[in-house]
């Protein structure tokens, strides 16, 4: 599978927090890195399901790995694609029905892929301006708790590539 690697210049706030906690001691804390940790993100398998003519909602799926402990906190696409974009999770309710809810933050463990796939987490495209056509791409910008962002092109297809 084709992988795209994005180097992110944002400084991981988690690392900064760890550094400040150690500042009260007179001894040298060699566990604190001399330079701030830089989050890098690897995204693969990004795709969006094609939308029938009458569907005004769409979904983007992908796998993403961060080099630091992080959290996916948002996603956005051009308003030429959809009026609003949210990170959602499909859940099974107590009565066996399935529904969705917006998720403010999806935790990510360093170097462990976070999977957004049908029936689970997905990036929901709301009020599509025009149908998603097979073969075209949707540029999606992901935002992380660390302050990092990355942009990925999701290819529109009928099913998972």
């Amino acid at each position: 599978m084709k992988k795209t690697k994005f180097a992110i210049v944002a400084v991981a706030t988690l690392s900064l927090g760890a550094a400040s906690c150690g500042s009260g001691s007179e001894t040298t804390d060699t566990t604190v890195a001399a330079t701030p940790a830089v989050a890098e993100y690897v995204v693969d398998g990004a795709w969006a399901r094609t939308s029938p003519m009458e569907a005004t909602m769409g979904a983007v799926y992908l796998n993403i790995t961060s080099t630091v402990d992080d959290a996916l906190v948002g996603a956005s696409v051009s308003t030429e694609i959809a009026a609003m974009t949210q990170v959602h999770e499909t859940l099974m309710n107590a009565d066996g029905t399935m529904g969705m809810q917006e998720i403010a933050s999806v935790p990510m463990t360093a170097n462990t892929p976070l999977t957004l796939a049908p029936g689970g987490y997905h990036i929901m495209l709301m009020e599509l301006v025009k149908p998603l056509v097979v073969g075209e791409t949707v540029s999606v910008t992901l935002t992380f708790a660390s302050g990092g962002t990355t942009t990925v092109d999701a290819i529109v297809s009928e099913e998972a590539p």
């Binding site: 939308s51 003519m53 009458e54 569907a55 099913e159």
Partner: protein, 207 residues
């Protein structure tokens, strides 16, 4: 990589053997019940012919299988996943796909007009029935027969929230649910069950 290849080979080998070892009923990948659901006497309006309502009974044509899903057209994840898996399964069936019909029951009739349902379903199937009733008690009666639940509510921010059972149902010409397809069974599972059940029809084991 070699280990992964060997593991895949082992998996393929084991899945290839399983159906041969199993009995006919257990070779279905969907769920079956000791007392299967009987839905053939239940009817709802079919609006797939230019929006004109015709009474539709939940039973397959003779020699066919009917696949029933409950959902709504503005569903971004569950419904398009199930319906595209259904479309993929039918493509794999080739000519046999002509014996598989689709009935899609909207649980969101306020927004899902016939004008929305017909092109939506047309992108997934050729032989489809767009089922829509604005009578909540009539919809509830049909859902009860399939043991399905749904709800349409508006949240504090004004967004309409819809929940519904994600299971699909394969119904025979007697109006009996012969396989229940859990969400996520995928095109492989659906194709398998269509083939198993069409074989039963062709051998006369099932109507």
């Amino acid at each position: 990589m070699k280990k992964i290849s060997q593991l895949l080979l082992a998996l393929v080998a084991s899945t290839a053997i399983l159906p041969a070892c199993a009995t006919d009923s257990s070779s279905l990948m969907g769920m079956t019940r000791d007392q299967p659901l009987v839905v053939g006497s239940i009817s709802l309006p079919d609006v797939s012919e230019n929006g004109v309502s015709q009474n539709f009974f939940f039973k397959a044509e003779e020699g066919h299988l009917l696949t029933v899903f409950f959902g709504y057209t503005m569903c971004p994840d569950i419904c398009p996943t199930s319906l595209s898996d259904f479309r993929s399964a039918l493509r794999r069936l080739g000519d046999r796909a002509q014996k598989i019909d689709l009935a899609f029951v909207t649980v969101d009739p306020q927004r899902d007009t016939a004008e929305k349902l017909i092109p939506f379903l047309g992108s997934y199937a050729t032989n489809f029935h767009a089922i829509r009733t604005s009578d909540a008690s009539q919809l509830s009666l049909a859902q009860d027969a399939f043991l399905v639940r749904s709800s349409v509510t508006t949240d504090d921010s004004g967004h309409i929230q819809v929940t519904h059972t994600g299971t699909g149902f394969i119904v025979n010409s007697d109006g009996i649910v012969v396989s229940e397809l859990p969400f996520g069974i995928g095109p492989d599972g659906m194709e398998n069950d269509f083939n198993v059940l069409l074989n039963k029809i062709e051998t006369g084991e099932m109507k």
